[in-house]
């Protein structure tokens, strides 16, 4: 169609591609940037800039970790923690998302039920742990419940916020196309709120590990939190650090996995 055929030089093409290549580079570096902190710590500890009794060098911690991996000791704790977190997470997330969709779409429901959740939300989840232990016992059930409660509120509020931000035009489109209320719910409100739901899922993953650590300090015979507490009681600082690193890594990789899923499921949103 065009009267002029455009021809770019190789140098121009290189220049065009440069920002994308830089972006790829930064993205691959971003996965490893937390390692930089470890390196700094190692050097500071080796040079005695920081107290080695409280902050043993990561290489020493790694040695302890290796022993625990070789003896499979760590896997039992990781397994117990992961089981509690994932069950509690799902138990909290699904009702949180469904109720968030409902409250987001229905103003009367929001008016009536909103204040109840607003009053309950600020209660620190750790503060009600003794009560939950009393009701559900010291087994896994109490851990599931306390995590589910924490996750529930984060997903409720993020989903509700996402639904309320749904542009009116999408709702008009659905209505004009003849959508039922249920179709509007799942085919408009849900996808429209998906970026916010993922924000909620990421926040909830972070707070799940905070809650589980505290819950396992108090009432558990296994799990990474229990392991950290038990190491403190015997002043095994290296082992404590292994616990801390393991639980941080669990949180980090959970959030990383959620980001990957989000990139797949929400390709229209900016990341």
């Amino acid at each position: 169609m065009s009267l002029v055929t455009a021809k770019l030089t190789e140098e121009q093409i290189r220049e065009l591609k440069a920002p994308a290549q830089r972006e790829r580079l930064f993205r691959s570096i971003s996965y490893f940037s937390p390692l930089l902190l470890l390196l700094l710590w190692e050097v500071a500890s080796q040079l005695n800039v920081i107290d080695r009794r409280f902050f043993p060098p990561p290489s020493a911690i790694a040695g302890t970790a290796w022993q625990m991996i070789a003896s499979f000791e760590i896997f039992d704790h990781v397994g117990a923690t992961l089981r509690r977190v994932s069950v509690g997470y799902v138990m909290g997330a699904i009702p949180g998302i469904l109720l968030g969709l409902f409250l987001g779409l229905s103003q009367p429901a929001r008016r009536v039920l909103g204040p109840i959740f607003a009053a309950l939300y600020p209660v620190p989840k750790i503060a009600i742990l003794p009560l939950i232990l009393l009701i559900f016992g010291v087994g896994d059930a109490s851990k599931f419940v306390v995590i589910a409660i924490g996750v529930f509120f984060l997903l409720l509020y993020n989903t509700m916020g996402g639904v309320m931000q749904t542009p009116q035009i999408y709702l008009d489109v659905a209505k004009n196309a003849g959508a039922t209320r249920l179709q509007t719910f799942f085919r408009i409100a849900l996808p429209s709120a998906l970026p916010n739901i993922f924000t909620g899922l990421r926040l909830a993953a972070g707070s799940s590990y905070i809650i589980i650590a505290a819950a396992e300090f108090l009432g558990a015979r296994s799990g990474v939190g229990f392991f950290i507490w038990a190491s403190w009681q015997t002043f095994a600082v290296s082992r404590m650090f292994v616990g801390i690193v393991v639980i941080s890594a669990l949180g980090y990789f959970t959030i990383l996995a959620l980001e990957l899923i989000e990139r797949k499921l929400v390709p229209w949103a900016k990341h």
């Binding site: 008009d172 489109v173 209505k175 004009n176 196309a177 959508a179 996808p191 929400v266 229209w268």
Partner: protein
Amino acid sequence: MTQAALPLGAGMMSETAIEVRNLTKAFYDADSDRTTVAAYEVEFEVKRGEFVCIVGPSGCGKTTVLRILAGLETKLGGSIDMKSENPPAMVFQEASVLPWLTVRENVGFPLSLKGVAAAKRRARVDELLELTGLTDFADALPHRLSGGMKQRVSVARALVDDREILLMDEPFGALDEQTRLVLQQELLRIWETTGKTVVFITHSVDEALTLADRVLVMSPRPGTIIADLAVPFDRPRDVVEMRRDKRFWDLTYEVWRLLASSSTEHQA
């Protein structure tokens, strides 16, 4: 208020498709305790297969009238009689394409809500992608499309379940002049092949005269129809060539004069 209506554009379209009588709509804002009349005793008729444009300045209530016809707003008074077997389809002003669906899924959206089988849906969607020139973009997500392409998707979606009446709310308002001209020509072509009854809202006098069989001029405060002008150009129309016709500019002048006088009235 209403000026002497000119005789209808074409005699072949005699059956009434839409009849609006004394349509009134007002909004109430509880915070300021203020009532605003958006449309006041609006009256018009549209014949089956006719292309009618409503032209008027922003805030004259033309979008409100269209949204009431589409069933997206309730009316306060008056009556609407639509002689069609199905509710009207709407093409919206802003980007109304759903960002989480591909072009194909967006166009097929009304059919998928009705549970039309996938194979049948695909065949129908392909027809519309072809008609609106979107075949090459079928599997793209909307954020990769230009504004003009997105509006093509909206038009295709409004046509997909083959409803008799098409309501268009400034669909090309946000586009640049060139794209708009191309889409106007395409819309005319599509309208000629499908024979829909169209009510098209615009603030552009030029656009109204380019497209319509009949132009209804609306004035603000309160929003009401002050004139009903027949647009005499032959079909099919060439959106560029028709600008050589002196009658085009005479009508442009006439509509501008009506709009200007109604706004002077408002100031007085």
